[in-house]
Symmetry: C2
Subunit: 192 residues, 2 copies
DNA sequence: CATTTAACAGACAGGTCAGTCTAGAAAGGG
DNA sequence: CCCTTTCTAGACTGACCTGTCTGTTAAATG
């Protein structure tokens, strides 16, 4: 046990890394268990001892993705102090994600379209709740009179930009979304 | 041949109807050929004589969906003459779709997440091009100084509303998107 | 050194899928 | 009355999938 910590990544970590690469690149339904364990260099029995089922592995993959994405956006926003900059910074952080090689859209939207089970739905709801909460609180800090309303609209822009980046193969969608977000914020502030 | 016209829907029509119901409700990857022919009341050989492969059936399903959706939105917009009303009417028409029982999000976004093949991509590109063109031309007619830019932003709202209606199970997303679209249009007109 | 634990490789079962093929039924035309 | 065409029913192949099970190996512990 203690040796595992110094002997490199554990089986669980290798499985999650392999699942992340394969599931995100090719889809949770397309990629079979055999490909995951082959890339992880792990026996099939180890996967089932660790996660119990493919559904649970998918859930763990999405949860990890949620944590990594949230940490990344939070970290990006640290560079700004002004509430308005922080709100618009969400779309800049999105642009960084879009520009990465291997970007394939929102993992939660894709996974829920591929295999709409309870496990995936719960993970997706968690992620979407976090994004919505972030945008709503930023809208409030920026002075919007109805933060829930603006947060919801910004969330739509956020999702729409992600979809456009994937389906139109256009990473600059985040810049257009950022401009639209600025216009929506200004309109909300003017109506105050 | 002539008898078929009076003897009810053809095998092709029944297959397309069954494909539309099953593929949209459960996903193109989840639903197998056997379920489609069973619902259509058609032999498997007839399907392969008519469409050649499942991929081609999926393509035909998406093309039909494109035509039906486009006709429906176009028809909805006929009630308005004012360019601004027509632009916002797109989101009202979307709201009608969201409110239907069995609404499950954008068929093209789901299909392309499920099976990202060339046939699906082409059908999705066609559909997205149509939506983008509609919103852009309506933005121009409404007086926006940069119709391409506004059309693109409205397209993101359109996609984001559809995603929210599906994943958040919230049909009222179209109303929020309509309000955001109005704000974006007003901002564009004010900057003129 | 002995024992226990965990990971390994891989065969296997049970099911589903796309697509092909055979054979029979129905129906219109000469 | 036969013939051609088209449809139907369904068996079948080969591939792939998830999940289980059987051994084997390696390492850590007492």
């Amino acid at each position: 046990m203690s040796a595992k910590a110094v002997a490199g990544p554990s089986a669980r970590e290798r499985l999650l890394a392999a699942a992340n690469e394969l599931f995100y690149a090719e889809g949770v339904h397309t990629v079979g268990i055999d490909r995951v364990i082959e890339r992880a260099g792990v026996a099939k029995a180890s996967l089932y001892n660790t996660f119990g089922s493919k559904d649970e592995l998918v859930r763990a993959y999405l949860e990890q993705r949620h944590a990594v994405t949230a940490a990344r956006i939070t970290r990006y926003l640290e560079r700004y102090a002004d509430p308005r900059d922080r709100l618009l910074g969400v779309f800049e952080a999105q642009g960084e994600l879009f520009a990465e090689t291997g970007f394939r859209g929102c993992a939660f939207a894709s996974a829920s379209a591929e295999s709409p089970g309870a496990a995936v739905s719960r993970a997706a709801d968690d992620y979407r709740g976090w994004v919505r909460g972030l945008l709503t609180s930023l809208a409030g800090e920026a002075g919007a009179p109805d933060p829930d309303r603006l947060g919801r609209q910004l969330h739509m822009l956020y999702d729409g930009a992600s979809l456009s980046a994937r389906m139109d193969r256009d990473p600059s969608a985040s810049a257009a979304a950022r401009a639209a977000a600025a216009a929506l914020l200004d309109a909300a502030l003017a109506a105050r």
